[in-house]
């Protein structure tokens, strides 16, 4: 154990410039391919004095809300509404808006801007809330995402996901890059570039660290990578294969799959690579662990019953119970953040599709309809599911709402995108 933590801990060569060159051309573009049946009409006019900002913030808010598939934008034309006064709510309602966001921008002497917004319900004629920020102009996108999160939460009751980040792997030619981007595909940055495959990225609950499997040593090895510093540490490099890292909700431990004792089995290990403990004991395959939101259960895929099915086991070990029964290939279990449902991949007449199961009724619904959908990952509010798909012979990312209605496709020109992982809500 000491050998692993000491000698494998890697001091890393950060090549900032090399990684950026590909990333600059490799932005994810998002295409909306399906929307909610009824969308909430909202007006988000320009903020008063928004022209003082080098780039628009209200544009970002409108784009975020529209892309969620839950809102439709009521266009008021070239009009700015300040948050300092109550607007004509009855008039706005007459124009079809059930809610309106007003705002103002005031330049400060230090180069930053004071941005204030206020949200109104035009039907009840009441204010729903307000927020104020002082921001540097370079942060116009992050500011817009924060405001969109505020609007989304006030109107849906669920936290927004516009300020979150996603991780994914881009393969172009022989080069693999683990990239991190904002949830809208902007700001792609390369965390790791390699000539060998990278799979199974998993966000730590702190949103700063990623665990993943890299084949740079000609075999699968699990690393934990601190994104701001680029420092990474080998968490599991035992004899055989090391794969499928999954963070416990406490951010201190990972469930992993090791073959050091023979077949692929589940183990729990501390984030620094110490304290390895075996959780499952079967003679076949146990893999793809995922913790329930409360940390009590670990869902996993196993062939112990003769075909690949989903099981769950108490996190401290015990007797596993089978969760899926329909079909002969159900893999990649991912429990929802509220613990009520489970998404997984099911094989249907040779097609691989993302399905969702209500864990109390065991009712299963197939959410996607292409042939090679895999690696589902919940948004932190449980409303959307990001997954890997295929379009025009290339790997793309796609997202579907948990009710199956809202659909989006995220692709990068001339590259394969795969292995998405949706990050947690950032702590501001």
């Amino acid at each position: 154990m000491t050998r692993m933590t000491a000698s494998f801990r890697s001091l890393v060569f950060a090549v900032l410039v090399a990684g950026m060159s590909l990333a600059a051309h490799a932005q994810l573009s998002i295409e909306i391919t399906g929307a909610g049946a009824t969308r909430f009409p909202i007006a988000v006019p320009m903020f008063e004095s928004e022209g003082a900002l080098p780039r628009s913030v209200s544009d970002v808010v409108r784009d975020d809300l529209e892309r969620s598939g839950l809102f439709s934008m009521v266009n008021l034309g070239m009009v700015a509404l300040t948050e300092a006064a109550v607007p004509d709510l009855a008039g706005l309602r007459g124009r079809g808006a059930d809610a309106v966001l007003t705002g103002s921008v005031v330049p400060l002497s230090d180069g930053r801007f004071d941005i204030r917004v206020r949200l109104f319900d035009t039907q009840k004629q009441t204010e729903l809330g307000a927020m104020a920020m002082r921001v540097a102009p370079a942060h116009h996108r992050a500011t817009g995402h924060r405001i969109a999160d505020f609007v989304y939460e006030k109107l849906t009751g669920l936290p927004g996901y516009f300020s979150t980040r996603i991780a994914y792997v881009v393969k172009s030619g022989p080069r693999y890059e683990l990239q991190i981007a904002d949830a809208d595909g902007e700001n792609p940055q390369t965390a790791l570039a390699s000539r060998e495959p990278i799979i199974s990225p998993a966000w730590a609950p702190d949103g700063q660290r990623l665990a993943y499997v890299s084949f740079e040593a000609k075999k699968p090895v699990i690393y934990v990578h601190d994104l701001p510093s680029g420092q990474r540490r080998v968490v599991a490099n035992f004899r055989g294969s090391n794969s499928a890292p999954a963070w416990a909700p406490d951010g201190q431990r990972l469930a992993v799959v090791l073959t050091r004792d023979g077949p692929s089995q589940l183990y729990v290990v501390n984030a620094d690579g110490t304290g390895v403990r075996r959780i499952t004991t079967s003679s076949g395959i146990d893999t793809e662990p995922a913790w329930s939101h409360d940390g009590k259960w670990i869902y996993f895929t196993s062939d112990r019953g003769g075909s690949a099915q989903i099981y769950r086991i108490a996190a401290e070990g015990g007797n596993p119970e089978r969760v899926t029964f329909q079909g002969n290939y159900n893999v990649t279990p991912r429990p929802s953040p509220d613990g009520r449902s489970l998404v997984f991949v099911t094989r249907n007449e040779g097609r691989f599709q993302v399905a969702i199961m209500d864990l109390s009724s065991r009712q299963t619904t197939i959410l996607t309809d292409s042939v090679r959908d895999e690696s589902p990952s919940f948004a932190p509010n449980g409303r959307m599911i990001l997954y890997a798909s295929e379009s025009g012979g290339r790997g793309v990312l796609a997202a579907v709402s948990s009710d199956g209605r809202v659909k989006q496709r995220l692709s990068i020109q001339a590259a394969d995108v795969r292995e998405p992982a949706w990050g947690p809500i950032p702590r501001h």
Binding site: V12, F13, A14, V15, L16, A18, G19, M20, R112, A132, M133, R134, V135, A136, A138, H139, A142, T143, R146, I180, E186, N187, T190, A191, L192, A193, S194, R195, E196, I199, S200, F215, A217, K218, K219, P220, L227, P228, S229, G230, Q231, S241, S243, A244, V257, T259, P263, S264, I285, T287, E288, T301, A308, Y329, V331, T332, F352, E374, S375, H428
Partner: protein, 172 residues
């Protein structure tokens, strides 16, 4: 050593520049996503060097792949002489080490395929041990569906990828 410290220093500077908070702030600060927050790392590669005796095309030892049927981990009889030759070579050369890399076709989940490839690697390892190789000489690992030798979606191509490869010391 100074070179190694530079990236860490850079990211500290970037993080410091990204801060927007101030004492008179009325709301919370907004995190900078324009450059700070993620540092790029390039993974070091492994360059293998072959061993002449094992790469002579006239020798059976130059053949390194064992192929499997769909959803199977059984070594077909056509590979018996190949497995015997490598098992004997390992037995007669106890200083030699081998890495077996198991592979699968691309259908299905990447992690589940990684586990399937491990089963194929392990099956070959057990067969080599029956021929006299020592357990400590062989490490069985899996590349799953990640390193296909053939990338078309045809049955011959899938069959080409359902494979275990034998690599000797210096080749991995």
């Amino acid at each position: 050593m100074k070179k190694l410290l530079l990236p860490a220093l850079l990211s500290v500077l970037l993080v410091a520049c990204g801060g927007t908070g101030g004492p008179q702030q009325t709301g919370a600060s907004v995190e900078d996503r324009t450059g700070a927050g993620v540092a790029t790392v390039t993974a070091p590669g492994v360059t293998g060097t072959g061993i002449a005796a094992l790469t002579d095309p006239a020798s059976i030892l130059s053949r390194r792949s064992v192929y499997f049927d769909f959803d199977s981990f059984v070594i077909r009889s056509e590979f018996t002489s190949l497995v015997e030759a490598h098992g004997r070579f390992l037995s007669q050369n106890p200083e030699m080490r081998m890495m077996i890399q198991g592979n699968t076709d691309e259908r299905g989940s990447r992690e589940y395929n990684l586990a399937l490839g491990q089963k194929r690697a392990e099956a070959l390892k057990q067969a080599l041990m029956l021929m006299g190789a020592r357990e400590s000489q062989i490490e069985s690992v899996s590349l799953g569906e990640e390193k296909p030798r053939c990338t078309e979606r045809t049955e011959p191509c899938f069959a080409e990828n359902r494979r275990s490869d034998m690599l000797y010391t210096g080749e991995f």
